[in-house]
Symmetry: C2
């Protein structure tokens, strides 16, 4: 496995392979790789000839009060995982190379960024949209994979790639969960032993929402209440939002009439957790 | 010469050639091609194997009170010019193909867009930055050429290409002028016969600024006054701005200590004209 730090060298590597007709797959990460990333990398491995994983803790998507400084950076372990999974290049640019003096371009998606994570983390999505545009410019993949865990981010990236004509196939891979159902996240290491046990309540709450939809409830507010009911039984957790949304626009739905996504964000102590569940309506029988 | 309307077909054409090691040159235009464009196209022809010219009157870079509807669109004449100059593809997307329903991504360069044209035309440069990003994504050139006439735009495009890692060489080609010195522009056709004669005063004013710099004046305000003095003799013209700037940042300069760009924007009746001049300091003699 090659470790590349310079954006120019990364582009040269990719361009050379593209000229040979090689399909390049790309998994952008902030490192601190867990089994969710491993699944993403394996799914990417099946879809491309050459596979690039980037490890870059992107400063522009963190708010001033957020965890940029303490974000975990176990680089040797990350590289070992990549090597084991057959990654061809680990791209590890520095912040200085990504954002040199004079850098000023921002990519924004105002409609998608208006709600949910975007409302709570004001500049987060412009940071994400800008770094994804840059990374795609540098790595030049034909396929890029993102985890469903960050659902709003995946909707944003799909729209971005379409809007800016990046000609990249965006694949969103299902969330990988711990044995109890907690969505895997690099931030789970922040949880105390007690809070780790409580954390699964977020997933349970989403499951409760899915359950009432399957039983035929179509009122968005009622679904939301069913989710909130579960979470409120765990007083250590504060709800940031619980929502029943259209999976393509992320607009909240009053009426559940087709496929929906249930979104949830909570805080336990100083740790924020997000999760989501795609839910299909109960099957109609066609005669 | 091929005429391509679909962005997907354009990308497919380019990708196929790139795989064969072909260098693609790109001249983005809004049509209404004049001798300035012809020079750009010829300069591009010398730098690439395959040459793409886009003709797209981009709605998002026009303000609500601006000339989008009446902007000249002599498409047959434009195609004939392209054909004659050896253009390989004339890319003519529709506004619907460029901005389909749900489109929302904007690319902004807040520092460069803050002053001069950006101050007078608030959303102009985000429209330009977004469409240039899109066109580069669709056409995938290795080289793109822009006219020096839109100086601030050329600075913006250079920064954009660098910031978003587009791996495109940006070439800025000198302004082509009419016999009397007026910078060629598709908007010159809006001028009445009388205003056409007056219009050259903008160029004369920039020349006057250059002249006092050559004579050793280093005070930015004094250079500006010399320019304003010339323009004020033509009462039909209103000054939007006259500025003495750093050519890379476009920040106004109090002291002329190295290469500068003189920027000017005026109105005659309802027509706006812009122009600029790069000026080197008087040569020092090295012993």
């Amino acid at each position: 496995m090659k470790i590349i730090r310079s954006p120019q060298a990364m582009t040269a590597w990719s361009e050379n392979l593209r000229r040979q007709g090689v399909t390049i797959g790309f998994v952008p990460t902030m490192g601190a790789l867990h089994d969710g990333h491993r699944e993403l990398i394996r799914a990417a491995r099946l879809r491309c000839d050459a596979l690039v994983v980037s490890i870059f803790v992107n400063p522009t998507q963190f708010g001033p009060q957020e965890d940029l400084a303490k974000y975990p950076r176990p680089i040797s372990r990350d590289r070992a995982l990549c090597r084991k999974e057959g990654v061809d290049v680990c791209f590890e640019p520095t912040a200085e190379a990504m954002y040199p003096n004079g850098f000023q371009t921002m990519v924004t998606l105002p409609t998608i960024a208006r709600r949910w994570e975007g409302e709570i983390r004001p500049h987060h999505f412009s940071g994400v949209a800008t770094v994804v545009t840059k990374l795609c410019g540098i790595v030049r993949p034909q396929v890029a994979l993102f985890g469903q865990k960050d659902f709003q981010q995946s909707v944003l990236v799909r729209q971005l790639v379409k809007d800016l004509n990046l000609s990249i196939e965006v694949v969103v891979h299902p969330t990988v969960r711990e044995a109890d159902g907690l969505a895997m996240s690099s931030r789970n290491v922040y949880l105390s032993q007690e809070d780790r046990k409580r954390a699964v309540t977020l997933y349970k709450s989403l499951r409760a929402g899915a359950e009432v939809i399957r039983r035929g409830v179509t009122d968005g507010k009622a679904v939301q209440s069913a989710m909130a009911y579960v979470l409120k039984k765990e007083p250590a957790m504060t709800i940031d939002y619980l929502a029943v949304c259209d999976p393509s626009t992320l607009e909240p739905l009053c009426d559940v009439t087709s496929r929906v996504v249930l979104l949830g964000a909570v805080r336990i102590g100083s740790v924020r957790l997000i999760d989501n569940l795609l839910v299909a309506l109960p099957r109609r029988s066609f005669k």
